[in-house]
Structures are given as structure tokens and as C-alpha cells.
């Protein structure tokens, strides 16, 4: 049987890059094509990068021409502070709509689709259950932009799954992600000298490690799992303990007019979006048992994730940036990949993994 031919959306995003890197290690994957509006920010060996606009107008041609059978839709914006609302809407809602239009075009070869969604689709409030299962409906209509756009995205996913019963459609809903490299409003709040909280509230938090995020995406693709899965580390811990694990005191904001009180923080560059303020009030637990029952094993618990995050942060504050300082050079990449002069397909840089040396 021929290997997989994978299309990744959002190659230049944190998740797109990581998933592409991980898929490159899989010998069963023949072709990896990554779409994005910007050039990738991580080093890639054999992933083909295609520049598109954010709503993928050329997508159906690519799917057809490259006979794509697997789509990893990682280009969904969860961090509402990272861009304008309009751009987020274009990327999340319009992008997903066009992606599924292309994937369901007549003669489409797509057989597996995995979508990286978020537990923000559940919302959170006082009346909600302590754990959301994959079947739990949200109790009130979404209030924030991210939640609204994720709900629209999931609607397209559902429609696509119903219209294309021969395709394995997997919707992964990730809990709050932390880890050594990812930056989110929560990770930024935890890097402050004092961690913002809401007075009188100490909600339960759940986290998933960035490695477990990538591993779970690969896992569902590898095992052709279909359906909705929550992805979150075991255990929940109160926000005060999250701060305590990071070795920091909490700084309570008033419980009334909290949005107004968080304004000075925004001026300092730490924006607490509405969906995070809701979390700081009510917290959220998601039931992670379905994916575990299908054989997935986590590497980190919620508390373990917080510790991994803070240890990486301490290391970085001591020795400086440990991130890969890679810059995509189109011409150099083209040379290494396509020039007849290149005899071995080593990665572009010479810093190959020391463990593969003879």
C-alpha cells in the first residue's frame, strides 16, 4: 500500500510546523504539503511549502493535483489576542469552509481529516458540569469571538462528516496547552512576577502538554480514529496552585468589573481575553477518558505540564533563548531539495542530530 499524502494547514504556525516535523519522521508518509500565508518558521526536511491566501482559494487544485488523502487542519486561531478579530474570522471560519469545500469536491481522494479544535467550544459558567464529555452541549450561546468562530468551524466539520461518511473525520478538542515553547495568554500570565487571578475565585484548571498535543494528532491519524475526542492531561488543580507551582504569588483582580481591571495589564502587554477571564472565574474540566480508552497514553498530567512549562521558562531565563533560530531561505531550500548536485538528503543545516552520526 502506498504511503500517506498529507496536507497540513497553517505550516508556519506553531502546531503546523511541529506536526509537519513529526510526520517527516514517519516512513509511511510519502508526501507532506504545508499551506500558509507566511513562510515556515521551523526547519523542515521534505515538507513542500505552498503559499496561499488565508482562505485557501487554490486548495481544491492542490488536493486534486497531489492526490491528498489526509488533511491535518491545524490552522485554527485560539489565541484571540494574537490578531484582529476579522483576520481570525477569515482564518478560522472562511478557511475551514473552503478547506472542506475542496476536500469534498467530486473525485476527492481525501480519506482522513483531523481538526485541531479547543475546549473553548464548551464555554464555561457556574451552571456547567465539572467535566465536559464529548457529547456535552454548551449551556449558553458563545459570547466571545473565539468561541463563536470555533462553533462555526465545528459546524462545518460536522456537516462534512455527515456528507462524507467514507472519510474518517476526527475533531480533537484540546484543553489549555502549556509547554516549553508555546506562547498563549495563560503562559504569558504565568510569566509575570505576580499571576493575575480574580478575587474570591480559585477555579480548577486542566492542562495538556504541547508534546501530547502533537502526539495525539499523530496518534489519531495513525489509528484512523474518527469522531470527537477531548485531549487533556489527568487531574485538575486550582489556579492558586498553578501559580504556586510556578513559584509566584497571585494578584487578585476585583470580581466585579474584572474586564475594566484587566485593562492596565493589557497596556503592559499581557492581554487577558474574555474567554480567559471566564476560566479564571469558573475553570473547566474536560473528560479525557475516550481517547485513553482508544489506547492513547499521555506523557504529562496537568500538574506535570505546569512543571515542564516553568522549568523550561527558568532555563530560558538563565541561558537565553533555547528556541530554534531557523529562518526559511527559499532559494537554499530549493537548492538542497531539487539540485542534482546535492547527493544526500540531509536537512538544510549541518547541525544534524548527533545520535544519527556513525
Amino acid at each position: 500500500m502506498a504511503g500517506k499524502r498529507v496536507l497540513i494547514t497553517g505550516l508556519a504556525t506553531f502546531w503546523g510546523g511541529l506536526v509537519a516535523q513529526a510526520l517527516e519522521q514517519d516512513p509511511d508518509v510519502d508526501v507532506i504539503i504545508g499551506l500558509d500565508t507566511r513562510e515556515p518558521s521551523v526547519e523542515l526536511e521534505r515538507t513542500e511549502y505552498v503559499r496561499t491566501d488565508e482562505n485557501y482559494s487554490i486548495l481544491s487544485r492542490i488536493v486534486k493535483a497531489a492526490r491528498i488523502d489526509t488533511i491535518a487542519h491545524t490552522f485554527l486561531i485560539i489565541d484571540s489576542t494574537s490578531m484582529q478579530p476579522r483576520t481570525m474570522h477569515e482564518i478560522n471560519v472562511i478557511g475551514t469552509m473552503n478547506l472542506f469545500a475542496a476536500a469534498s469536491a467530486p473525485g476527492s481522494t481525501v480519506r482522513d481529516v483531523v481538526v485541531k479544535s479547543s475546549s473553548y467550544v464548551y464555554g464555561t459558567g457556574g451552571e456547567d458540569p465539572y467535566w465536559f464529555t464529548e457529547e456535552t452541549n454548551r449551556s449558553r450561546t458563545p459570547r466571545t469571538r473565539v468561541e463563536r468562530s470555533l462553533e462555526a468551524v465545528e459546524g462545518y466539520v460536522r456537516d462534512f462528516a455527515i456528507d462524507n461518511p467514507h472519510v474518517n473525520v476526527t475533531l480533537l478538542r484540546f484543553s489549555n496547552v502549556l509547554g516549553p515553547d508555546i506562547e498563549t495568554p495563560i503562559s504569558r500570565a504565568l510569566t509575570l512576577p505576580v499571576v493575575p487571578s480574580i478575587f474570591g475565585f480559585d477555579p480548577r484548571f486542566q492542562f495538556v502538554h504541547e508534546d501530547d498535543v502533537v502526539r495525539s494528532i499523530l496518534y489519531v491519524l495513525q489509528h484512523h480514529l474518527a469522531g470527537i475526542y477531548n485531549v487533556a492531561g489527568d487531574g485538575l488543580l486550582p489556579w492558586s496552585e498553578v501559580a504556586h507551582l510556578c513559584g509566584k504569588p497571585t494578584f487578585p483582580m476585583p470580581p466585579f468589573g474584572t474586564g475594566l481591571a484587566s485593562w492596565p495589564l493589557k497596556q503592559l502587554g499581557v492581554e487577558l481575553p474574555d474567554e480567559l477571564l471566564d476560566l479564571l472565574r469558573f475553570g473547566r474540566g474536560i473528560d479525557n477518558r475516550r481517547l485513553k480508552a482508544d489506547g492513547f497514553q499521555y506523557r504529562y498530567t496537568s500538574a506535570g505540564t505546569v512543571r515542564a512549562f516553568i522549568e523550561a521558562l527558568r532555563l530560558r531565563s538563565t541561558v537565553g533563548s533555547t528556541e530554534r533560530s531557523y529562518r526559511y531561505e527559499r532559494d537554499v531550500e530549493q537548492f538542497f531539495r531539487h539540485s542534482p548536485a546535492v547527493l544526500s538528503h540531509e536537512p538544510a543545516g549541518e547541525l544534524a542530530d548527533p545520535r544519527t552520526d556513525p
Binding site: 465539572y130 487531574g235 533560530s325
Partner: protein, 315 residues
């Protein structure tokens, strides 16, 4: 709390890494851990490993904290013993293990029955009780957090199912909801509607018995003289009472200080349902019928207890 007993794996790990590995690490050239390469710590995907869970506090996944619970027990015990002088009958009907749904009548402007029932069972039977309450509590700053640390859980069918069916716990629920405590003194010991029978459906789905409890004394501990509908609407509270306690002790102290009414609690015979658990839905007529029967049992037990009661304060 001290950090002294925290493991420090980074230091230990760093000692065994050679300089080249550290360089590689700093350059970001270590293979990410999700790749299928042998992990230096000997972890593999296919064997079950006990994950490291560096917790620092004692707050569990329901939001309860054992240290806060034992503290509140210590503070509340004299009130239970000497103020309300709670007296139980039929405690042996409550199972010592496995899930069961405790159902009781609900009264007093600031309900005094919930802590009496929970504290009584927890100390006499040494079993935790999870008290279900309106989500309103969770939305109140400080109160909501303390309530949750002390053992309160938002009344949601999913929460009740998880506690009863999956964790085999005792769960306490007041089917009258806020209509019980929100009634005026003239209506005392007359049970309100038992919701829409949702508690029966939960017990059926969880496959646990319902144990009715009749409580006498709560009504007189903080009776409502008058209610303001307008203020209730304005504050968003289910009812806005003026209590006899407030008339006597002033609005603030009277809002918290109970009268020393004598508490008597009677555990009635457990009710089991011969229906299979985990069904999508149960016959609504059956649910309502069972709910009404349980309500009547508690109501007639209350009348019996009141017939025998000689004094509100001495029982």
C-alpha cells in the same frame, strides 16, 4: 507548606548529560519527545508508566480540600452538638459503601439542614457526603470557593452521575430546590414540588437507591417572616427574605445567627428501582410517580415527627 521535599529532576538530569548534549540541547537540537526514538529515561509508548504528578496542594478534582474540610468540621462540631443538638434515627439504613442518593426536605432562609445532614453522616458513618447545590453558589466570590472546598458540588446531572455511578459516593440533594427554604413561616413543613423528578431519573440512571431523610428543626432555625419580590429580582437571588432572626438580632447578625431549634432527623427506608441503569431515557410517568411517592413519604414522616414534638427548642 515547604518546597524542600520537591524532587529536582533538572539538576539530577543535567549531571549525567555531557557537554555536547547540553550544547545540542541549547541549540534546540534534541529530538522532540514525541518522535519514535528511544527516550533517555527509558520511557516507551507501549508500556504503562506512572506519570509524575507534582501536586502541591490537597484540592481534589472536585475542588474539595481535606484540610479545609477538617477545619470546618472542627468549627462546626460544637454547633452541631450543642446548638442544634442533632438527633438521628435510622442512620443504619444508609449504606456504608457504594453510591446512594440522599434526599431531604429543605428549609430556613439560609438553609441550616445541609450542613447538619452532611456533618452528621460524615462524623457518624465516617463517609464523605457530596452536597449538591444551586450553581448560584459557584458564582459568588469567596462563598463559592469555600463552599466548594468544604464539599459542595454544583447540582448538574453529569456531576451526580459521576459521583454516584462511577465513584460510588453518597450524594445529598434537596429536590425542592430554592422553593423549600424560600417559603414563609406560615408554610413550614409543607413540602414544595419535588422539581421535575430529575433526582429519581439520576438515581435510576446511576443504579443507586434513594434514601429519603425527614428533617425537623431547620424551619424554626431561621424562619422567613416576609419576602421582597422586587429586591429578589434586583439582586438576582431566588428570594430576598426578612427573617425573624433579623428582626431580633438586626439585619447583619440576624442574617447569619440561627435560633437554637432542636434538630431531629429520621432516615426512611431506602427506595430501589428495578430498572436497568445507563438508559438513555426513563418512563416519565414512572419517574413522576416515584418522585411523588418519595415526597409523600417524607411529608407523612414529618407530620409524624411533628405530632411527637413537644417543644421547638427541646424536641
Amino acid at each position: 507548606m515547604s518546597d524542600a521535599d520537591e524532587p529536582t529532576p533538572t539538576v539530577a538530569d543535567a549531571e549525567v548529560l555531557d557537554a555536547a548534549a547540553i550544547d545540542a540541547m541549547l541549540l534546540g537540537e534534541t529530538t522532540p519527545s514525541y518522535l519514535p526514538v528511544p527516550d533517555p529515561r527509558g520511557r516507551a509508548d507501549d508500556n504503562d508508566v506512572e506519570l509524575d504528578d507534582p501536586r502541591m496542594g490537597d484540592v481534589d478534582e472536585w475542588g474539595r480540600s481535606e484540610s479545609i474540610r477538617s477545619l470546618t468540621r472542627k468549627i462546626y462540631d460544637p454547633i452541631y452538638k450543642h446548638w442544634f443538638r442533632a438527633e438521628w434515627e435510622g442512620l443504619e439504613k444508609i449504606p456504608t459503601d457504594g453510591g446512594a442518593l440522599l434526599v431531604a426536605n429543605h428549609a430556613a432562609a439560609l438553609p441550616s439542614d445541609a450542613p447538619v445532614i452532611m456533618h452528621g453522616i460524615e462524623t457518624e458513618l465516617e463517609r464523605p457526603v457530596y452536597g449538591l447545590a444551586d450553581a448560584l453558589f459557584k458564582t459568588m466570590p469567596v462563598v463559592g470557593t469555600l463552599w466548594s472546598r468544604a464539599g459542595g458540588v454544583v447540582a448538574h446531572p453529569d456531576n451526580a452521575y459521576r459521583l454516584l455511578r462511577e465513584q460510588g459516593q453518597l450524594v445529598l440533594v434537596f429536590p425542592e430546590g430554592s422553593k423549600g427554604p424560600g417559603k414563609t413561616y406560615t408554610q413550614r413543613y409543607r413540602l414544595r414540588r419535588f422539581g421535575r423528578g430529575g433526582y429519581v431519573e439520576i438515581a435510576m440512571r446511576a443504579g443507586v437507591p434513594i434514601i429519603p431523610i425527614a428533617v425537623v428543626g431547620a424551619e424554626e432555625s431561621m424562619p422567613i417572616v416576609w419576602k421582597s419580590t422586587a429586591l429578589a429580582k434586583a439582586t438576582g437571588l431566588p428570594y430576598f427574605p426578612v427573617t425573624a432572626n433579623q428582626l431580633l438580632f438586626g439585619p447583619l447578625l440576624g442574617g447569619l445567627a440561627y435560633f437554637p431549634a432542636k434538630f431531629k432527623l429520621k432516615v426512611l427506608d431506602p427506595v430501589s428501582f428495578d430498572v436497568p441503569p445507563d438508559q438513555e431515557r426513563y418512563s416519565k410517568s414512572r419517574v413522576m410517580e416515584e418522585s411523588e411517592r418519595i415526597r409523600e413519604q417524607i411529608q407523612s414522616a414529618l407530620y409524624d415527627m411533628l405530632r411527637e414534638r413537644r417543644s421547638v427548642w427541646f424536641g
